[in-house]
């Protein structure tokens, strides 16, 4: 059962990573990256690494997204 879940989350992570690369809008890439971090948090918890999970949740899913969005606003929005 736990192996099926790990494989499923891995596939979801790969899908969101591909979406982050291929999406037309930059802001969609940020959301997809954040989703990938969130999924990897779940994977870390299953693999008994709670320290890494907390760090990934606060840095990867939380602050990185905010900093990226602020930087996007700084360079003048989502233009081609």
């Amino acid at each position: 059962m736990i192996n099926v879940i790990i494989i499923f989350i891995g596939i979801l992570m790969a899908i969101s990573a591909i979406f982050a690369v291929e999406s037309k809008k930059i802001i969609d890439s940020f959301i997809a990256l954040s989703l990938m971090s969130l999924l990897s948090v779940f994977l870390f918890v299953i693999m008994k690494a709670p320290d890494v999970a907390i760090t990934e949740a606060s840095v990867g899913a939380g602050l990185t997204t905010a900093v990226l969005v602020l930087a996007l606003r700084k360079i003048g929005g989502d233009k081609e």
């Binding site: 779940f42 299953i46 320290d51 907390i54 606060s58 840095v59 602050l63 900093v67 602020l70 700084k74």
Partner: protein, 239 residues
């Protein structure tokens, strides 16, 4: 149609996560592998016998969280370097984005944002402080705790036009970074080794245990929180 589909996908994911949570073992009852068991039970004082949570005392390190004992005690010099890397990156952001004026939108932020920040901010700051004060007992530590505090500061920046913290941030960062080095030099003066754990380690599992580990993690928490808040503040300025 697209919105309905995406809502359905999100709902499915949430249901999936909730249904898989019971698979995670209960606290303290995880079936550890042979390697983890051997590392946790290793008694470096040579007395033999297993280490019991809340009973054993005066161990070499005394942190209940094995990861913390490595990061902040045995490999503390690495952590000092890591903090320096973070400081350098914050410095780089500060040099590139050398704006000095806050960006003003000229209107009050959203009512919901302003009111909910007043309720949420104390909880966020409290949780961040809890994470880095209990770094040697529970998962977490200075780096995630500081990041959580920086997220709270970001909320404060978004909700208040007049809010400015850049002076305080630099002060806190400098003080906590120097104190980290001073603690290391104290170890050098007392026992002859830089950053050695020279305080008594106490009983495993107590808040006041494992010597200098909680002190250093509190300092790291303040330093990381101040640095990341500084990055957020720099990004929030008008270029």
């Amino acid at each position: 149609m697209r919105r309905f589909l995406s809502a359905l996908i999100v709902l499915g994911l949430i249901m999936f996560f909730i249904s898989t949570l019971p698979l995670i073992p209960e606290f303290g009852k995880a079936s550890l592998s042979k390697v983890s068991r051997a590392f946790i039970d290793k008694d470096v004082n040579g007395n033999g016998g297993n280490i019991q949570y809340g009973v054993s005392k005066d161990l070499e390190n005394g942190a209940a969280n094995v990861v913390t004992s490595i990061v902040v005690d045995y490999r503390s010099f690495d952590t000092l370097g890591e903090v320096t890397v973070l400081f350098t990156s914050a410095l780089g952001v500060g040099i590139i984005l050398s704006g000095y004026k806050r960006k003003k939108f000229g209107r009050e932020p959203n009512f919901i944002l302003r009111v909910s920040v007043g309720i949420l901010l104390p909880l966020i700051l409290l949780f961040g402080a809890y994470v880095f004060i209990h770094g040697h007992l529970t998962p977490g530590g200075g780096f995630p705790g500081g990041t959580i505090i920086a997220a709270g500061i970001l909320l404060l920046y978004l909700s208040n036009e007049e809010f400015d913290l850049s002076k305080t941030v630099k002060f806190v960062e400098g003080i906590s970074g120097s104190l980290y080095v001073i603690v290391g030099l104290l170890g050098l003066a007392v026992s002859g080794v830089f950053l050695i754990n020279f305080l008594p380690t106490g009983v495993v599992g107590n808040l006041f245990s494992s010597g200098i580990v909680p002190i250093i993690y509190i300092l790291i928490g303040f330093k990381v929180g101040a640095e990341l808040s500084g990055i957020v503040a720099e990004l929030h300025r008008e270029g």
